[in-house]
């Protein structure tokens, strides 16, 4: 594993994202709630730039006790990022494809040394 320099940790605000190149490998780095997450930027569907699209909350459809739907609403807790080519949606905290959680993007470790951020690729 090689440490690939990403940038200064202080440069990242919550909700920021950056694409990091480690040779031929493209990695998407996200910051959410103070945590860093890094995934392969190649969509599991047709190789699209999975990490470069919209970041958007999961859509929920809560049911009432009688099984009637309360309609669709955005989740307050789960955030997704979406491949801009076709809309494949991934859980930002796990890299799982939300339509089939058996599939997940390759995850990369993020290391902070002082104020410097690295991904292990």
């Amino acid at each position: 594993m090689k440490e690939q320099f990403v940038g200064k940790a202080a440069e990242f605000k919550d909700g920021d994202r950056r694409i990091v190149f480690a040779g031929e490998v493209e990695i998407g780095l996200f910051k959410d709630n103070g945590q860093f997450y890094a995934y392969s930027n190649t969509c599991l569907h047709q190789f699209g730039p999975a990490c470069e699209g919209l970041i958007i909350a999961k859509v929920d459809e809560p049911l009432n006790a009688d099984k009637t739907s309360r309609g669709m609403q955005f989740s307050e807790t789960e955030l997704h990022f979406v491949c801009p080519w076709h809309g494949y949606e991934y859980d930002l905290r796990t890299g799982e494809c939300v339509a089939d959680r058996r599939m997940r993007l390759r995850k990369y470790d993020v290391v902070q040394k002082g104020d410097e951020l690295y991904v292990l690729a």
Partner: protein, 413 residues
């Protein structure tokens, strides 16, 4: 510009650049050396509604033209000329090329849609694309027959006189027929059938008219006599009576494209059109493939019981369906076994034609065919472009493509 996410979150994006957006497609094409393979996209699109000011002056009737141009000037691109569709193709902005499309810069010289087309074709290693409109796929819902004729006539003139000649020979088309007016369909074939880049004609299938009606036989005969092809291009229509009970776009989209092709293909087969026009290549576009085995099974089953209702047929409905061609996109790949069976049932090696449908939201790359584990090398070359090269007489663009076409028997006569 800003892309609006949930709860007002905004993501700033400078501009769309198709080459950059599709850079991974180029990388995958390079890995597979796809530039050595002649690739024909039999179904690609552009947004003609953004060019109505250029198209409408080609409308032949003075009064209809003035009506249309006044409407467009007042309401902006497209105005209210073509029946609109309720839908969310962009998935709330998740498919970013929709909201960002207007931000993409093009240079002087070539027509904007040609420049954009060449960008995505180069990224995917596509040599030729069959260019179809977007909004006008719903022209069959137009309440005015004469306006359908006027608009398709104007679009076909603009396409063949401005767009195709500007594309360095890389775009061709199958021209939209004003199907509500059978006489106008024939005039369209007579006027446009010989034009450069026209390989055939296309019926948009979001409509209810019977494709077997006697009124259309002269048009089909004219197409066949000219050695051209006929395509049926499917679409979506949430206003369709049977779909009004569906509450999500995913449902309407999944069923709609298949539904209209099933409807018209059934009439085509049961009424013996394959017997009447055996030399005319017929192609079914943009409904994926899963509907084809279903319809083959269903029609064959009924035919064995009720052959008296289809006296023109000399073989089973599925045999006629195997004589026709199918565009691949959106290819359903979730059950590889079912897909392999589908390939067998349609004789994919000779009857399947790859298509991207780009820039629409559910486009496919050539890799969807190239990477299939159960398809022979010959079949891959045929499906990606060899069969289309033969059908539409498209020449190779480099020596390796030429050698591959020759190797698999796909050199155009």
């Amino acid at each position: 510009m800003d892309l609006v996410s949930d709860r007002g979150r905004r993501i700033t994006v400078d501009e769309l650049n198709t080459t950059q957006l599709l850079s991974h497609a180029r990388k995958e094409a390079n890995k597979r050396k796809l530039d050595d393979v002649l690739i024909v996209d039999v179904d690609a699109h552009h947004y003609e509604n953004e060019h109505m000011q250029e198209i409408l002056p080609f409308m032949p009737n003075d009064v209809q033209r003035q009506l249309a141009m006044a409407s467009t000037a007042r309401r902006g691109p497209g105005g209210s000329l073509v029946p609109g569709q309720v839908g969310y193709q962009d998935m709330g902005g998740r498919v970013t090329r929709y909201p960002l499309r207007g931000s993409e810069k093009t240079g002087e010289g070539k027509i904007r849609d040609v420049q954009l087309g060449h960008r995505w074709m180069d990224a995917m290693s596509v040599d030729y694309s069959c260019l179809f409109p977007t909004g006008m796929l719903a022209i069959g819902l137009h309440p005015q027959k004469e306006m359908e004729v006027e608009l398709t006539w104007a679009y076909n003139r603009w396409l063949t006189e401005k767009v195709l000649p500007d594309s360095d020979g890389r775009f061709y088309s199958m021209l939209n027929l004003p199907f509500q007016d059978p006489d106008a369909c024939l005039r369209m074939v007579e006027e446009f059938g010989h034009r450069k880049g026209v390989t055939g004609f296309m019926v948009t299938t979001v409509r209810h008219l019977g494709v077997h009606d006697n009124a259309y036989m002269k048009t089909y005969r004219a197409i066949e006599e000219r050695g051209l092809s006929l395509a049926f291009h499917s679409g979506v229509n949430w206003g369709e009576t049977v779909f009004r009970g569906l509450n999500r776009f995913i449902s309407v989209h999944a069923l709609g494209f298949s539904f209209y092709n099933i409807l018209h293909c059934t009439n085509w087969v049961i009424n013996g059109m394959g017997e009447r026009f055996p030399k005319m290549p017929v192609m079914w576009i943009e409904a994926g493939l899963a509907w084809v085995p279903f319809l083959m099974q269903r029609l064959d089953h009924e035919y064995m019981l009720r052959s008296s209702e289809c006296p023109l047929l000399k073989k089973k409905p599925s045999d006629y369906m195997r004589d026709m061609y199918y565009s691949s996109q959106p290819m359903e790949v979730q059950d590889m076994g079912a897909l392999e069976t589908t390939f067998r049932m349609i004789n994919a090696e000779t009857q399947l034609l790859w298509s991207s449908d780009y820039p629409h939201w559910d486009f496919d790359l050539p890799t969807v065919i190239w990477d299939l584990p159960f398809v022979s090398e010959k079949a891959k070359h045929n499906i990606l472009g060899g069969t289309a090269a033969r059908l539409f007489k498209l020449p190779p663009r480099n020596e390796k493509q030429k050698a591959n076409l020759a190797k698999f028997g796909n050199v155009a006569a």
